[in-house]
Symmetry: C2
């Protein structure tokens, strides 16, 4: 299991931005009661690593659950140390005065089951073998996350979330909450997501998985026992993902056809010549150093398997008929991996199911990554919606 | 070098389609005069493998040059044997009564220099070492192809092509012809192409190259000497290409989310569950069996390097100012790798340069591959244009 940050009491330095949640410390929650999984197996015990921001009010009515995307974790906002140069992945949208305002809400963010940042997953020790689970970790579905998150809510004394919020894979997690525990969700925010992946999305995921499985350092999933890391495979997987999360337009703006050196090297042995190539290799390398390969396979399979309406006669209207909460749905114009058309399918089904829904398609050149990035219109819609959520707390 | 097909005289069986060019036989052309390359090196001698369809007229004015795309070769139309199950890659558009009508034109199709289907390339023997060139094969630019093709025209007695035609990378080849040898081209047909790749395109190419280079069987480009083939890398490269050549819509229509078995296997060890995954693996495997890895690196670099206007003050209008021929430009609505916007840039530059141009954006769900596939509107525009070309022969 990766090391958790040092738990000595933090000193908040003056230099952190005023609208930051500041220094935060992950907490560990151990669950000893067995969790039945949708694959038929069960976990006898599991651990979830969690961060919280803001205060739970007396009525315990202002709790927000943040669901992370493919490569996300519990660290959604703030800093882990005074000289931490990297903020949480959704710091742009969580903090005092931000759309998910921590002066109004008690925000709960966890590393999901199967993750590789402290929660029980393929890197954890399997108590039956005293070795890391590795490839033997049970396959999961999003509903398994929802059940594990419901137990976390119980532990925190939260009967009903003011809102469950997620982007991409996290949006699928949020939608599943609305159907599995209708009475425990007041609002559901589904950002840059879909009721199921397209064949093209599945194809990109499978290519990424094959890149990992093809790496000689993968050792059929047993790389941990071999003290190896399939770096090349992980880097390739990330590079594929990265290109598809950005828009063509954004890549053009950011890199164009700029060369690293003044002119072409023009050899088979001068592999990296364009800036965009260099950028991608850097992204791949960073990812390969911080992410577990079995977790990547597990998470992308969870994405591929998700099909909101499969158990509801393949009818999303029937599926959403079970929800009771109100919905915010957001998409981004240049997101071609979870396109606005996919969000409109969600909205159409919600309307047909007589659910209360606010939808906005935000103009952006940032592709799928837009849901993480600054954008005035997105912020404004998100903030307005969340103020309405706060008024009902 | 790959074996050329058996050269015994063919018997045309009755069963070949009437609008087929029938049985065809590749010819080998050896060029002994050194070819100066744009990288500063030169090839002392080279071989081109060529197929021709139809008859050269007495005025030698009806010759058409076909330029192939990334993974293409000289076998553009017809069959190599009576029980050949696979026709040439552009058989849909070349043949008696087809848009490139072999009763009207003398069609010349070659495997480009650097290729791996018989022409001199990384798999050929380097006379200086008596070993395959491999990664030491000189890097090429499209203008090197144009010069080698001009010598082929000389050999065939063709002073001026009635038309130079190509799709994708082949379209770049055709455009370069129009500028390098203005007086030798009457018409230029540029299909699903661009004056230069976008950053996104370069990114996909680099990911494909990295997949090949990461394969342990690549041996730093010396796999031939090791009697190895980087199959996994080649397969991955092809899978990435394939997904980007198809449209999201087409993949949805063709595969949807269909499972290979009735229900989910749900394990990390059950890697291929969706039909689309199985299809991609099949494509990857087939490609890995027939294509040379160094050639793939070389060809994708040629694509990345191509920038029509670089030597013309980065101004495509100035570049096309050197052309004298008439142009047909075709794009396909769902082609996101060489989008209609890229074709419109070509058309805008041609108009600004006072060139004669016909442009059509064809409605299609087939993505980039549309240029190879049946499509009534595309056929009709292409045929009409080619009849005009024939009238001028």
């Amino acid at each position: 299991m990766p090391e958790l940050p040092d738990s000595s009491p933090p000193d908040i330095p003056d230099s952190l931005p005023l609208n930051s949640v500041g220094l935060v410390e992950p907490q560990v929650f151990e669950f000893e009661e067995p969790l039945e999984l949708s694959c038929g197996r069960s976990l006898n015990a599991y651990r979830l690593v969690v961060e919280t921001y803001g205060e739970l009010n007396d009525k315990k009515s202002n709790a927000i659950l943040i669901c992370h995307a493919l490569s996300g974790d519990h660290h959604a906002a703030g800093y882990h140390s005074a000289n931490d140069t990297k903020v949480g992945w959704w710091d742009e949208y969580i903090g005092p005065g931000k759309p998910i305002d921590t002066t109004l809400f008690y925000v709960v963010s966890l590393n999901n089951l199967g993750g590789c940042h402290g929660s029980t997953g393929p890197c954890s020790i399997n108590p039956d073998t005293d070795k890391p689970w590795g490839k033997d970790f049970p396959p999961l579905r999003i509903r398994d996350w929802v059940h594990s998150q419901a137990r976390l809510a119980d532990r925190l004394g939260i009967d009903q979330w003011a809102a469950v919020i997620g982007g991409s894979l996290g949006g699928m997690n949020a939608m599943r909450w609305s159907i599995e525990y209708p009475e425990r969700v007041r609002h559901c925010a589904v950002i840059a997501s879909a009721t199921k992946l397209t064949a093209q999305n599945i194809a990109f995921n499978e290519i990424a998985r094959r890149a990992i499985r093809s790496d000689a350092q993968f050792f059929d999933g047993d790389f941990l026992e071999q003290d190896a890391i399939p770096r090349d495979g992980l880097a390739l997987a990330r590079m594929i993902g990265h290109v598809t999360y950005l828009s063509d337009e954004l890549m053009g703006e950011r890199f164009g056809r700029e060369l690293r050196s003044g002119s072409f090297q023009q050899g088979l042995e001068a592999p990296v010549e364009f800036q965009v190539e260099s950028y991608l290799h850097h992204q791949g390398k960073r990812f390969a150093e911080s992410f577990d390969a079995n977790t990547y396979l597990l998470m992308t399979k969870i994405l591929d398997y998700f099909d909101l309406a499969r158990e509801y006669n393949n009818d999303p209207v029937e599926a959403f008929g079970h929800a009771q909460c109100k919905f915010l749905v957001v998409s981004f114009s240049s997101d071609w991996r979870f396109s606005p058309a996919r969000s409109r399918e969600i909205v159409d089904a919600l309307i047909a199911a007589n659910r209360d829904v606010v939808y906005t398609e935000v103009e952006s050149t940032m592709g799928h990554d837009a849901f993480l990035l600054p954008n005035e219109r997105y912020e404004s819609v998100f903030r307005t919606y969340m103020l309405k959520v706060a008024q009902e707390c």
